[in-house]
């Protein structure tokens, strides 16, 4: 099994506040990897290191270790961030489509990359919306505002937007936190489809979701990776007592 992201001894700090301590793991390609753990354990921070979106926050930096994608340390100063983020898409906790039409939301990443040919855009937008299982619901109102969609539809639109330029890896930061159970179910079904083409890393608070969708699960606590393994094993037969306590609901 090839790994998509190699994390080696990563430590991370916001200014002087250390949030990640010596995390190492290999994220497998074309599988779904779930990060679980109590709030503030650093799982979102770790996810946000993968596309360096943490760079937006002043004072946030990796203090030790390396994160490698395609055997290149993505924290090197000569990395083309825009190209990196085209390869590693991201979906956020709260659905956040732009104040544009449905079509323009999906076409955004292509337009900023300089693609303006109408026919190409049409095709890619259609494919992305189909992949996100949204096409049938919106094909008649592509040029209407994205804010007219329901919450679940907006989140699927954000997924379509993230996969429009065919990334290799898709990062999802609690994608269902703001959705009702039915919309959540739809997204989970979608994840099953998407993992055929993309490597998916998902942060979730919902342990049931982790068991339903993920192939591998990482449990984090207080900025440390406590346990990482196949999902079934981690939930049914945890090696670490802390993991056991968390998955059985004794704390967290």
């Amino acid at each position: 099994m090839t790994s998509a992201i190699q994390i080696q001894n990563v430590s991370f700090a916001y200014n002087t506040k250390q949030v990640l301590h010596d995390v190492s793991m290999d994220i497998p390609a074309h599988q779904i990897t779930a990060f679980i753990g109590p709030s503030g354990c650093g799982k979102s921070t770790l996810l946000r290191c993968f596309n360096r979106i943490n760079d937006r926050i002043p004072g946030a930096r990796i203090t030790a270790g390396s994160i490698k994608v395609h055997d290149i340390d993505i924290n090197r100063s000569d990395i083309d961030l825009q190209e990196l983020r085209r390869q590693i898409g991201m979906v956020f906790q709260k659905y956040n489509p732009f104040a544009k039409s449905i079509y323009e939301n999906v076409a955004f990443s292509l337009r900023v990359a300089g693609q303006n040919k109408r026919a190409t855009l049409d095709e890619i937008v259609e494919n992305a919306l189909k992949s996100a299982a949204l096409w049938d619901e919106v094909k008649d109102r592509l040029h209407a505002s994205a804010f007219g969609l329901s919450g679940g539809q907006q989140q699927r639109l954000c997924i379509a937007r993230a996969i429009a330029n065919q990334p290799e890896i898709l990062l999802m930061d609690e994608p269902c936190a703001a959705l009702d159970p039915l919309a959540t179910l739809k997204i989970e079904e979608l994840l099953m489809e998407l993992k055929k083409k993309y490597t998916i890393v998902i942060v979730t608070h919902n342990m049931a979701q982790a068991t339903r969708c993920s192939d591998k699960t990482a449990f984090m606590y207080l900025g440390k990776l406590i346990e990482f393994g196949p999902t079934m094993q981690l939930f049914e037969n945890p090696k670490d007592p802390q993991t056991e306590a968390y998955v059985t609901g004794t704390f967290g």
Partner: protein, 635 residues
């Protein structure tokens, strides 16, 4: 327990409130403050409306008198006469532009030489006068004083010679000669230095030389100018008689008003004797009805003369256009001639229509109230305190306000929004800490100070810059008036930049950071994120900022009063972009300027109130629209 039982229960139950608490008192205090502001606003509105709305009936009566007395009839002819005079002036300007344009070199040289000499004379003038005035005396104490005066003068002279203006079009040796001749010139000499005189003569010769090929044009202009003389004398003759009629009618109006006041007083008087006295006074002051019919009939008899005079004018005018030269060399002259050619058909058409208008005019046609309203809203003249007839048309003022607002916004929108985008999106915290307070500090400058700077520094600087040879390609340069639409617009831009900046910055800041984050996560650069996601999302807030800036610009008074030049005239749009360098007057400025001088309760006074109401309505509408956009942004 039923409802009734609760209300009847003894008042000492511990759930029941008792007495008047301190909190309640504080609440009422705040409520009364809020209420007071509303009451004051309502009172202001009522006062404005009460004072203002009386304007229209008053103006209607003025227009009625204007008609009955025959002033309107005279204006039919006068309008054509004015048009003819204006055309003559345009042709004259073209003529001189052609000559002076060709003699430009001579003109500049002569101007520079005399400017240099004038600068010297201005500085040394007072001390020189002292020397000259005292040099007659010969006695000892006087001669001692004279010596002191002379040394003073010499000192002044050296100082003045050290700070002479530049003369880019004079040869070096010419300048040196000129300075030398000034230095060695006799104290009491009244003659110009030789070079100044020589250059003036050179200029005159050049002008004369270039005038030779234009002799035909000169003659044409002169014949056109004199073609209106018959009409002109007719108009001034009629003017006298109609003015007299008008005065009679106005006198009678005033008496009538007094009588009504007396009668009203009599009706409310308590005792009988008092009432009788007042009534008899009222009867005594009953004015004779002024004789309107006589003069107006005599005026109507002049109709044939008027028509004849017009026909004479028309006959001469018809051929003039063909006689004007086809091509002039100077661009300015060509432009002016083009303007004359363009307005010519209109002038001719007006002349052709005039006889019919003269015959159709009726002195007893009624003036409806709507005529007063439309004359106010669409009138092209704001003429007050004149001997002839007052007109209250707001177009020149509205045009001035709009032009200034246009200039101000053209400057303030890009710089205000640009600064906001930069500060919010790209500036380092250190830069933010400097730029924001500095821009907001502009707001603290009192507008009268800003106007003062506008007149003394900016206006003068702009006029000086506009004379630079390298900038002559800009339309309107060199500018004729130091105080004009552009100067006022620039200062108002400065005043509205803080408003636009702060509110736009707020709007951009209010865009959820999730948008920017999503955009960057999709591979957009900072720049793309700013301009494709953040700024569009802030659009309605930015629009509101611009509108509030506009409201501020329209309502600003002090700066425009000081800097706009205060010429009450619709800007001459035929001159293209240089229209922006013409002086103008504004809706706000006119109130500030004239309200202190008008008699209380007069039609003019009320007209200013209506302008105030109009401004109030405009600014209210702008602000309401802005709030609409702000609310839209908040969803």
């Amino acid at each position: 327990m039923s409802q009734e039982e609760i209300s009847l229960s003894p008042s000492h139950h511990r759930f029941q409130k008792r007495g008047f608490s301190c909190e309640k008192a504080i609440k009422y205090f705040f409520a009364s403050n809020a209420g007071l502001t509303i009451v004051i606003l309502v009172l202001i509105t009522i006062f404005l409306l009460k004072e203002g709305l009386g304007f229209f009936p008053g103006y209607q009566r003025e227009l009625e008198v204007y008609r009955i007395a025959g002033l309107e009839f005279v204006d039919i002819s006068r309008k054509n006469l004015t048009a003819q005079e204006q055309l003559t002036s345009v042709l004259n300007r073209a003529y001189y532009a052609e000559i002076n344009g060709q003699a430009a070199r001579e003109m500049k040289r002569s101007k520079e030489a005399s400017a240099l000499f004038n600068a010297y004379s201005e500085q040394t003038g007072p001390t020189r006068d002292l020397v000259v005035n005292n040099s007659q005396a010969a006695s000892d104490p006087k001669s001692e004083m004279l010596a002191i005066l002379k040394t003073n003068f010499e000192k002044q002279k050296v100082k003045a010679l050290a700070s002479l203006p530049a003369t880019p079009h004079l040869e070096k040796n010419e300048r040196a000669d000129l300075i030398e001749s000034i230095r060695t010139r006799a104290v009491d000499s009244t003659e110009d230095p030789p070079l100044v005189a020589a250059l003036a003569a050179e200029l005159a010769a050049a002008q004369e030389k270039y005038a030779v090929p234009l002799q035909g044009m000169r003659a044409t202009i002169d014949s056109f100018s004199s073609a209106g003389s018959e009409l002109s004398s007719l108009v001034s003759e009629m003017t006298e008689s109609v003015t007299a009629t008008k005065e009679k009618i106005q006198g009678a109006d005033i008496l009538e008003k007094d009588r009504k006041t007396l009668l009203a007083a009599a009706a409310s008087a308590k005792d009988l004797a008092e009432r009788e006295k007042l009534t008899s006074e009222a009867t005594a002051s009953l004015a004779e009805k002024p004789d309107v019919e006589g003069p107006i009939q005599r005026l109507m008899e002049r109709r044939a003369d008027c028509v004849k005079a017009h026909q004479a004018l028309q006959k001469t005018t018809g051929g003039i256009l063909a006689q004007l030269p086809e091509n002039l060399r100077q661009p300015d002259a060509r432009r002016l001639l083009k303007v004359a050619r363009a307005t010519w058909p209109l002038f001719i058409a007006d002349l052709e229509k005039t006889p019919a208008a003269i015959h159709a005019w009726k002195y007893d046609a009624p003036v409806p109230l709507t005529a007063a309203i439309s004359s106010f809203l669409t009138g092209k003249d704001w003429v007050t305190g004149g001997e002839w007839q007052d007109f209250y048309g707001i177009l020149p003022l509205a045009a001035g306000s709009l032009m200034i607002a246009l200039v101000a916004l053209i400057i303030a929108i890009p710089s205000g929004i640009g600064a906001a985008v930069y500060v919010n999106q790209f500036a380092s915290p250190r830069e933010q800490g400097i730029i924001k307070p500095v821009i907001e500090f502009i707001q603290a400058i009192p507008s009268v100070v800003l106007g003062f700077i506008g007149i003394l520094v900016f206006g003068t600087l702009l006029r000086d810059i506009s004379t630079w040879d390298s900038l002559q390609w800009i339309p309107g340069f060199p500018i004729e008036e130091r105080l004009n639409i552009f100067t006022a617009g620039c200062l108002l831009a400065l005043m509205s930049i803080p408003t636009i900046f702060s509110l736009s910055e707020d709007a951009i800041n209010n865009v959820p950071s999730a948008y920017a984050e999503a955009s960057e996560a999709l591979g957009a650069s900072r720049f793309q994120t700013t301009f494709r996601v953040v700024v569009p999302a802030a659009f309605s807030g930015v629009l509101a900022a611009v509108l509030l800036g506009l409201g501020r610009v329209i309502g600003e008074t002090m700066v425009v009063l000081l800097v706009a030049g205060n010429r009450i005239k619709i800007p001459d749009f035929s001159s293209g972009l240089s229209t922006f360098f013409q002086p103008c007057h504004t809706l706000t400025g006119i109130i500030a300027q004239e309200l202190g001088e008008v008699p209380l309760g007069s039609v003019h006074y009320r007209a200013l109130f209506v302008v105030g109401i109009l401004l109030f309505a405009i600014v209210l509408a702008i602000n309401a629209t802005a709030h609409h956009f702000v609310n839209k942004m908040k969803h």
